[in-house]
Amino acid sequence: MKTYPKESTPPINTSRRRFLRRAGVSAASVGLLATAACHKGEQIRVKPNKIDIGKGDMSVLNYAYALEQLEAGFYTQLIQTPYSDITADELALFTSIRDHEILHREFFKAALGANAIPTLVTDFTTINFSDKISVLNAAKNFEDIGVLAYVGVSNQIQNKDYLTITGKIASVEARHAALLSNMITPGSFSGTDQVDDIGLNKFLSISDVLYRTNGFLKTKVSAIYYDYQV
């Protein structure tokens, strides 16, 4: 397990992690597992402000659901409290993006059904919504992370339909990301910060993405099966 200086508590011990894996930990079953584990004298603290995405395809969908909740929350806030000099064009573009992200969120919620993680509480206190630069940078960051996450998680998906659907969403996030890049620096839509020197978009593991996003969430998201715990 990697060490994460800011966001995470010290790594859980290996035997417990193996136990969780073997037991097939899932978001829905964390509470039960905690009970089971306590019989063995182990302590797993399940706090209401922490959730785990579980394992298998449902974990990937919950991971996507978490990211889309974050994005939808950000744009909803942006439109509610827009920076003062926002243009009509910018407002229209951000409104469209907000609506895409809300639909992505609602799609994953519907697809997951009873397997869905709860609604996450967001924390955007580090973003100054009255400052255009702060907002654009935050938006670009969220879109870039979305692309990094969808590309990076693709090879964890077992169901072909889900793989195709996350691909359908990934390219829309990339369209958003390119727009935001160009709004900040015209012509930077395929910049070296996101696209490597062999022409491939960069990608990130679940743990790296959650490490970068949990700072915007009051409800912390773990992925124990993927070696990441907050």
């Binding site: 909803t76 573009l93 469209s96 907000r98 609506d99 895409h100 809300i102 639909l103 992505h104 609602e106 799609f107 519907a110 697809a111 692309v147 969808y150 590309v151 990076g152 693709s154 090879n155 998906i157 077992q158 072909k160 339909d161 889900y162 793989l163 195709t164 659907i165 691909g167 359908k168 969403i169 990934a170 390219s171 829309v172 990339a174 369209r175 958003h176 990301a177 390119a178 727009l179 890049s181 160009n182 012509g187 839509f189 395929s190 996101q194 696209v195 020197d197 062999i198 022409g199 491939l200 978009n201 960069k202 990608f203 593991s205």
Partner: protein
């Protein structure tokens, strides 16, 4: 025999070698411990096994080379297109030229990447077809004879190629599901094509995403491109009609949002039919 020199040498040929996905990175990192337990004589065999694990597992799945050669054909098409256009100093205005140079460079890198990926997997990269960007299947007298003299025609074709490219890559993802590394790399290219599509749509002054109506996928106003956007009007995702899902206010979602939020895949056959007018026999 210095094992780390060998790893370094491999990295020179394949920069991603040490950067491949987690299990393999871990395997490479484990060499230190592993090496201390293996006799010098056994080393070449052990290394061979390790390399097989890093590469051979990916060669088995049938169709992967076909998928990559299909992608390579698309990248040949795009790279040739932009190489010709940016080599012509008059067609692209100065303010958007940097955009197309960026795109051209990405497409050329995609060609190189796919060629080496195919070779690494033991396949043979196809050679580039001869292209006819007039859309005349080699006659050079198709509907787009002014493609490299009229910026508007060039822009419309560029836009069509990029949006079609996005859809083509999306359509191949499920064919690569058993090939974890290649899948990731192909979807990494897919994302870059979507960045290009977004940028060109911005130049073309339409929304960066494809906003269809209930009956017409094509939102570009480019009449010849209807077939390239056919299917974009789909609102069913894994059996869920997403127009029936709630929006910020209201219990349903508009067709525009429902279609824009999802790019739709094209099959290999659909794409081949769409690009065949640009290929000389």
């Amino acid at each position: 025999m210095n094992l780390f020199n060998i790893i370094n040498e491999i990295e020179k040929i394949d920069p991603e070698f040490n950067d491949r996905l987690n299990p393999r990175r871990a395997a490479i990192k484990n060499i230190t411990r592993f090496g201390s337990k293996v006799t010098l004589a056994a080393m070449p065999f052990a290394l061979g096994t390790m390399l097989k694990r890093a590469y051979a597992a990916d060669t088995a799945a049938p169709g992967v080379i076909d998928v990559l050669n299909f992608a390579l054909t698309l990248e040949y098409l795009e790279s040739s297109f932009y190489n010709l256009a940016t080599g012509n100093t008059t067609i692209i205005p100065a303010d958007t030229l940097p955009y197309f140079i960026t795109i051209r460079d990405d497409e050329n890198r995609h060609v190189s990447f796919l060629q080496s990926a195919i070779s690494t997997l033991g396949g043979t990269p196809i050679t580039s077809p001869n292209f006819d960007f007039s859309g005349g299947s080699g006659s050079m007298t198709g509907p787009f004879t002014d493609v490299f003299t009229n910026y508007d025609t060039f822009l419309k074709l560029a836009l069509t190629f990029e949006d079609t490219g996005v859809r083509a890559y999306n359509g191949q993802a499920s064919n690569l599901i058993n090939n974890k590394d290649i899948l990731t790399y192909v979807l990494a290219i897919h994302a870059v094509e979507a960045r290009h599509a977004s940028a060109i749509r911005q130049i073309f002054k339409i929304s960066p995403w494809i906003t269809s109506t209930a009956t017409l996928g094509n939102d570009t106003g480019i009449s010849f491109a209807d077939a390239n956007y056919q299917g974009e009007e789909n609102v069913l995702q894994k059996g869920i009609d997403v127009t029936k899902l709630p929006a910020l206010s209201g219990s349903t979602t508009s067709i525009g949002t429902a279609t824009a939020a999802f790019d739709e895949p094209l099959t290999m056959n659909q794409v081949q039919n769409l690009i065949k007018i640009f290929i000389a026999p």
